[in-house]
């Protein structure tokens, strides 16, 4: 078919721009950079994130406080001691068992507990424990949840059935009951799996329990996401290149889960800290004399009639810590999935 010469000429537009000389380069911004940018703009989330770090630093500095300012340790009880309060010499713990309240001074800054121990010192040491447990448990949960979610979601078939059933069982088990049951059983005899011996009063016990209890909470959404991702073309493309399932799972799918993981993590830490408190309250978490916010609250509630500060102080500390994590976590979630979309293209 003859081509009309006029149409040929049409392509040579006189003075037409060279397509390659793009006037401005719009730099491609990936989802991580975008999220980071948005997070940077979220003052409130950043402020609370910083506050969390301050609290962590405070707790990590427990020995400094204990040695330099309070001159005691978290285990020593000063039942029979007297100190000067408002010019008067008073018992640390009165004869009818009522401990002193906050003195706002170096020693017994936040008062004493019924055993005559320095609350402030215990608070900071307890914080160290609670935070350690919280973060470690969240890490373990994350690793397990991602692993199980990936395997179940990608491999499907038998693996999926087995893993999902197991997750269902843990999920259906009332959380508190499961944690308490495991806590009680394990704290008595410890844990022995083959060569691994964990003694009953190790802090690893509540850590592991908390970690396991929360695995379904995170594993299920991850599994759901993996189910969706495995159908995407880029996975098919990699499969066509001859990649095996393991490689696909870890090099293709896992990176796409990263935003979910990042959003979940602060919340998992918050939940872990709360569950540790519940366990401590019921007496099966961190065992005395080792302090944790949980067992301090438990003690405080038990002796609330002698002094509400015993319950209020550790509780408040915990609430503030968890709150900072929640607010920061919220900010992270918003950064990855903003609501403020402008609808220009309809």
């Amino acid at each position: 078919m003859a081509i009309d010469p006029a149409t040929e000429l049409a392509h040579e537009r006189p003075g037409a721009r060279d397509d390659d000389a793009a006037p401005e380069r719009t730099a491609g911004v990936g989802p991580w950079r975008l999220a980071a940018r948005r997070l940077r703009r979220d003052r409130v989330a950043l402020a609370f994130g910083a506050l969390f770090l301050v609290l962590v630093a405070l707790c990590l500095g427990a020995p400094i406080w204990a040695n330099q300012i309070a001159h005691t340790d978290p285990y020593k009880n000063h039942l029979t001691q007297k100190i000067v309060v408002d010019g008067k010499r008073t018992n640390v713990v009165s004869l009818d068992g009522i401990p002193i309240g906050p003195t706002w001074r170096g020693k017994f800054f936040l008062g004493a507990d019924t055993n005559g121990r320095d609350t402030a010192v215990r608070l900071l040491y307890g914080g160290r424990n609670s935070l350690k447990i919280g973060v470690l448990a969240a890490l373990i949960t994350t690793v397990l949840a991602v692993l199980l979610g990936l395997l179940a979601g990608y491999l499907r078939g038998l693996s999926d059935t087995v893993i999902s059933r197991a997750l269902d069982v843990i999920w259906a088990y009332p959380v508190a009951l499961l944690a308490v049951a495991l806590g009680t059983a394990l704290s008595l005899g410890g844990l022995e799996i083959g060569p691994i011996h964990v003694s009953g009063d190790s802090m690893l016990i509540p850590t592991l329990i908390i970690a396991v209890v929360y695995v379904p909470y995170m594993a299920r959404p991850i599994r759901g996401q993996v189910l969706g991702l495995r159908e995407k073309e880029f996975v098919e493309a990699t499969r066509a290149q001859g990649a095996g399932p393991l490689r696909i799972m870890f090099t293709e799918i896992l990176p796409n889960l990263s935003s979910t993981i990042v959003v979940f993590f602060p919340l998992m830490v918050a939940n872990a800290i709360l569950l540790e408190a519940a366990l401590g309250f019921l007496g099966v978490g961190v065992l005395p004399p080792e302090p944790s916010w949980g067992n301090m609250i438990g003690d405080g509630v038990e002796h609330i009639l002698t002094g509400p500060h015993l319950a209020i102080v550790p509780g408040l500390m915990l609430v503030i810590t968890v709150l900072t994590l929640n607010i920061f976590g919220d900010g992270v979630r918003d950064a990855f999935d903003p609501r403020a979309r402008i609808h220009l293209e309809h």
């Binding site: 009332p174 508190a176 009951l177 609430v319 709150l323």
Partner: protein, 315 residues
């Protein structure tokens, strides 16, 4: 539909079975878990231990013990190791309290969460939204037993506005019954209100930008109608399913902490006390009981979801 229900019931049984095994294992197989020693108390002599083992059958292989215990659960003969009471009877006695707590709280948190979620979504970005969101987050960050204990102390013990824990059966005095439950309901609800209102807020904000909401506005409908019939109706669907799960959990005695703090003597508290004494039968029974409700509500929720959202076809 019928096939779906049958399949879910079967899977329910499987899960319950697995849970019972898990519970049994936790207490009997984990090292350090010789029930005879626990039962005998301090410094038992070997004769005592042997007698206990004989009487309770602890010498038999685990699976035999398991089958015997399960048999007892279903025949209603289950007896506690420590109190020698009939466990099933005890649960029956405490059922009403747990139900009262669960149902009241579930209604309370749903109502408040819906109102709060909708309100903050409509006023998204404004001061009232931020403030209430922070409050909701505070609610989520507080351990329920701590809040409960403080409420009990300040409002109950000191101010005397509310009773200092305890439970009054509705048959005795409905007003007092209600009065005693207000604080427990509130304490339990705070957490859920925090969680649910934020999920609802998120759903509502998503839904508000859906095309069909734009169509609804283009129809000239009043804003209120658009919000309720289109936005809320669609946003609540995922919430209902979550609510069902949590409701199932507290119904079966999952509100251990609240019951303990307010001394309601419900099923959950029974379990907690039993765990403390390493008393397996009540723990087993309560666990099964709670799990049963969770799984039951799970199934019910799936069915309700299909009713609410016609796109879901139950196979």
């Amino acid at each position: 539909m019928a096939r779906f229900i049958v399949r879910r019931l079967l899977s329910m049984l499987v899960v319950l079975f697995l849970i019972s095994i898990l519970t049994f294992l936790i207490f009997n197989v984990i090292p350090g878990g010789d029930p005879a020693i626990r039962m005998a108390g301090r410094q038992p002599d070997p004769g005592q231990l042997e007698r206990i083992r004989e009487e309770w059958g602890f010498n038999e292989p685990v699976y035999v013990q398991y089958l015997k215990t399960m048999g007892q659960v279903f025949s209603g003969d289950l007896v506690s190791y420590s109190t020698q009471q009939n466990v099933i009877d005890e649960i029956g006695r405490r059922l009403g309290r747990t139900f009262a707590l669960a149902i009241g709280a579930a209604v309370m948190w749903m109502v408040f969460a819906t109102a709060l979620g909708l309100f903050t979504a409509i006023r998204a970005g404004r001061v009232s939204d931020r403030l209430l969101t922070v409050l909701a987050l505070v609610g989520v960050s507080m351990p329920v037993f701590w809040v409960g204990a403080l409420m009990n102390y300040y409002l109950g013990f000191k101010a005397g506005i509310f009773p200092n824990g305890g439970y009054v059966p509705i048959t005795d005095d409905p007003v007092d019954w209600f009065y005693h439950l207000i604080m427990p309901w509130t304490a339990l609800s705070l957490l859920f209100i925090g969680v649910y209102s934020r999920i609802l807020r998120s759903n509502v904000l998503d839904t508000m930008h859906e095309d069909y909401v734009r169509t609804a506005r283009a129809k000239g409908l009043s804003e209120r109608r658009v919000l309720i019939k289109h936005v809320l109706r669609n946003s609540l669907i995922p919430i209902i399913t979550l609510w069902g799960l949590d409701f199932g959990a507290v119904l079966g005695g999952g509100a251990i902490l609240t019951e303990t703090v307010f001394d309601l003597q419900g099923v959950g508290q029974y379990a907690a006390e039993s765990v403390d004494q390493l008393d397996v039968p009540p723990v087993l029974a309560v666990t099964l009981f709670a799990a049963f409700f969770i799984v039951l509500l799970n199934t019910a929720v799936d069915i309700i979801y299909a009713v609410l959202d016609p796109r879901i076809r139950l196979t």
